[in-house]
């Protein structure tokens, strides 16, 4: 028996410690500890609801759009405001741009180095690399120039962000050809450009990224001109081409070398989605990615998601406040004790749905959408299952590889929809609809903004009294996924997903890091 710790877990947003117990080369227990407390919910008290829109985005600089939207939606829910149709489309587009941005950034910039070894890329044959790229149907870059740049970089000896990387780790797929590693490195660099293009869309519609400015309670302050619509459209088209012709083929090319990752990393098997991207009905179950909950006891079946059965346990995390409260009555009185995995060990609370831990994220959304019959999701997932030799068995997606694949496939679905939505907005504006904002003067009420960040289910809960915030609670996706144990000792989703993971080198548990990163915490 051995303990293995990764702290800090790099290439994520924030500060996370992953501690695992390894027996005979397999993880048998795990503890995930969030390292940062800022007290956002207390900072919001006594401020205006519209101020929350700005401040809450600073919870996460990778998904500020979703926090802004969830906050605004909570206020609109509390005050009984329905936003104009144009504002709905604008928000969908800003959110879509962030999804595409975030997923590209996650796969290439954060996660790829767990599967692609830059040093292996050095021995690639350039001609073979072109041939392989064409055979895989993925994007062709100037592979020769990339290889040369990489070689010069390595020869120079100052490895910058690659310093002390686990090059040559035995967990890298042994049979993955050097040429595919080189393709991965080339697209790692290309992805930096693509995520920036997606962020430009947010800048056009929201002023800047990260931390945008326009989705205020009541609608949006972005009013498109013909030129701006064109600027948005061509960028979405460019991204769609790249996602379709590079990101998806890369995923399908690399996945077979890690097919073993279909066999572990699934976790509890409980999934929650609040739904994201409204259609004209504004109903959560009708969203493009609909709301729903999947409980392992019922197998792969979906039920309606119900925010009234939420609780947050805090006995195993560094809080003094009452445990097991619903977020609408929630508190967050922090009090550090010590890091002790047998007692309190994290700043992350333990949210539970009807008492159960829930995985949040693209896998949850894709499974819920699949089970609710969302056609483009079904088509893509079925195609991917076939490519992985698991046709007709969506249950294999409840695994490490499934979680990775779900995120990348979702990028494609959202990117396709984004083109529809730009045209929808162009049509609405051309049809004479110039309403983007619904003025309002109510100043009392309680509301919930249930939405989805790229990394999963996001709930903002607000109580407005006399025009000011009397209570504000947030349950982020990473609070779900990186949850500490609950009061009953049940592991959080990431902890549970770590159990059963094979570890080759206890001192360098790359496989455990892959599991943790697969949640995009």
């Amino acid at each position: 028996m051995a303990r293995s710790v990764v702290d800090p877990l790099t290439r994520i947003e924030g500060h996370l410690r992953v501690e695992v117990e390894v027996n005979n080369g397999v993880v048998t227990d795990a503890w995930v500890s969030g390292g940062l407390y800022r007290g956002m919910e207390k900072i919001l008290l006594d401020r205006r609801p519209s101020d929350a829109f700005y401040v809450v985005q600073r919870i996460c600089g990778v998904c500020p759009i979703s926090h802004g939207h969830a906050s605004t939606a909570s206020t609109e829910d509390a005050l009984g405001i329905t936003i104009p149709n144009n504002a709905r489309i604008v928000r969908n587009l800003i959110e879509a741009a962030q999804y595409i941005h975030s997923h590209i950034l996650w796969f290439y910039t954060l996660a790829a180095l767990d599967y692609v070894d830059p040093v292996k890329a050095l021995s690639a044959d350039i001609a073979d690399t072109y041939a392989l790229a064409q055979a895989a149907g993925t994007g062709v870059s100037d592979f020769g120039a990339v290889a040369k740049r990489l070689q010069a970089f390595v020869d120079n000896g100052q490895l910058s962000i690659f310093t002390n990387g686990w090059f040559g780790h035995p967990a890298y797929a042994e049979d993955m050809p050097a040429e595919l590693h080189l393709i991965g490195v080339a697209h790692y660099l290309e992805a930096l450009e693509m995520q920036a293009v997606a962020a430009e869309i947010i800048a056009i519609m929201g002023g800047k990224f990260p931390h945008f400015m326009t989705s205020l309670p009541g609608g949006t302050t972005f009013m498109p001109t013909e030129q701006k619509l064109d600027d948005i459209l061509f960028r979405f088209v460019k991204l769609n081409e790249w996602v379709t012709n590079t990101m998806i083929p890369d995923t399908l090319a690399i996945a077979p070398f890690y097919a073993g990752a279909l066999g572990y990393g699934g976790g509890h098997g409980n999934f929650l989605s609040w739904g994201v991207f409204n259609d004209e009905s504004f109903e959560a179950n009708n969203r493009y990615m609909p709301a729903g909950v999947i409980k392992v006891a019922q197998g792969l079946t979906v039920a309606d998601a119900d925010a009234s059965v939420l609780t947050e346990d805090v006995q195993r995390s560094w809080y003094d406040s009452a445990t097991g409260l619903h977020p609408s009555a929630g508190e967050a009185d922090a009090n550090f004790s010590e890091y002790n995995v047998d007692d309190q060990y994290s700043w992350v609370k333990a949210p539970r749905y009807d008492g159960a831990p829930m995985e949040a994220g693209p896998l949850s959304r894709m499974l819920v959408a699949y089970l609710r019959g969302v056609q483009p999701v079904q088509d893509l997932v079925n195609g991917a299952l076939e490519a992985l030799g698991a046709a007709g068995r969506p249950e294999v997606l409840v695994s490490l590889l499934g979680r990775v694949a779900a995120r990348n496939l979702e990028t494609k679905v959202v990117s396709d929809w984004s083109l529809e939505w730009v045209n929808e907005l162009i049509g609405a504006v051309a049809g004479g609809d110039s309403k983007f904002f619904e003025p309002h003067d109510v100043d009392e009420g309680m509301g919930a903004g249930l939405w989805e960040a790229p990394r999963g289910a996001l709930g903002h809960f607000i109580d407005i009294q006399g025009g000011k915030i009397a209570r504000y609670q947030v349950i982020t996706p990473s609070t779900w996924d990186c949850s500490s144990r609950d009061d009953g000792g049940v592991r959080g989703p990431m902890e549970e997903a770590l159990v059963g993971t094979p570890i080759i080198e206890v001192e360098r548990p790359l496989e455990a890091a892959r599991i943790a990163r697969s949640f995009d915490p």
């Binding site: 710790v5 702290d7 800090p8 790099t10 290439r11 924030g14 500060h15 410690r17 500890s33 390292g35 940062l36 407390y37 800022r38 007290g39 207390k42 900072i43 401020r47 205006r48 519209s50 101020d51 401040v55 600073r58 919870i59 600089g61 500020p64 950034l105 040369k148 010069a152 970089f153 120079n156 100052q158 910058s160 962000i161 690659f162 002390n164 990387g165 686990w166 930096l192 920036a196 947010i202 800048a203 056009i204 002023g207 800047k208 990224f209 990260p210 945008f212 400015m213 205020l216 009541g218 609608g219 949006t220 302050t221 972005f222 922090a334 550090f336 309403k435 904002f437 003025p439 890091a513």
Partner: protein, 388 residues
Amino acid sequence: MAHEDHGAIYDLLAARGVSRRDFLKYCGSIAALLGLSESFVPQIAAAVNHGAKLKPAVWLNGGACTGCTESIAQVDTPDVATIVLDLLSIDFMETLSMAMGEDALAAAEAVFEEPGYILIYEGSVMQGFDGNALRIGGKTGLEELDHAAPNAAAIVAVGSCAVDGGFVMANPNPADATGVKPYLESKGITTPVVNLPTCPVNPEWLVAIVVDVLLLGSLESGAILDKLDDWGRPKYIFGQTIHDNCPRRGHFENGNFVNEFGTEEEALGYCLYKVGCKGPQTYTNCPIVRWNRRTSWCVESGAPCIGCGNLNWVDVGAPFLNRHRDLPLPSVGNTQPGVVAGVVAGAAALGLGLHAVGMKVTGRMDGGAPYEEMKAHDKKRMQKGGGK
């Protein structure tokens, strides 16, 4: 041309895969940002010749949302790959480092052993719970900063959180957050700090500093310190208000205002001052360098500036959609009536000096400290009559 004199530089860059054309291109844009003419480009290029070794750097994340790292990933003058691979050797950066755990920390440690590196700090300095509000590698964030700061040649505090605690230090400051400079001063650590506020930091500014320090050698010469204002901000970036350079300034002068969202005035792109724009009291060059590769910026998207570059920006700026300060408005006479008062919060106000950072904000004061009533030149104009 002077290019021939600098063959060694180009050899170095070429060895790292940067073409001469690319290099001159980004030196050109940096020269513009620094307020230099294009004729300085060869001089900048010459300054790179410090030998074949890249300047080592460490990027620490304090109580951060990672938004400033995200922001840096959005730059193209040069792009982020060039910064982290070819300009600096950033041997530790939590969000991008390939290494993890102890091996990642060891990479940082190796840098700390040799004085002279650049330390970039993102996020608030978390003092709460004896520093345990932030834990990294089994230690507190404070221990990490205490260890990293003394040997650094300079610290670049990126984003408002690193400058003064940012939103995290807003009332009631639950985690006792502060900024790098006030924290180090309290510990008697004298490493120079360059402050780059706004939330997140605008990446163009970090590039300007990198060039200033690395290529113009302004740290060794001490010139960088002369370029800083009282807050430790580079004057060439933070010397003018957003209002000074706002494309909607004409509407302000003509008295064309958005009074409410969802109105014709909004559609016409009128001045956002009456819906809370903090442009008049926010000192950054956002309207000029813009955001996301010069694509747009807050006001262009129809949103009032929230003053995210101000000290204690949340307490000072909120409620963000309200006006706070008297200004002469030509359309309604000398001063607009009924300025929303009683909500201006926080202690950082008059003069906006750095000393304000160190002031303990123990509570959001209803009624708050007064703003400067008006800028000197506004006052002068008013005395002349109606700001005409």
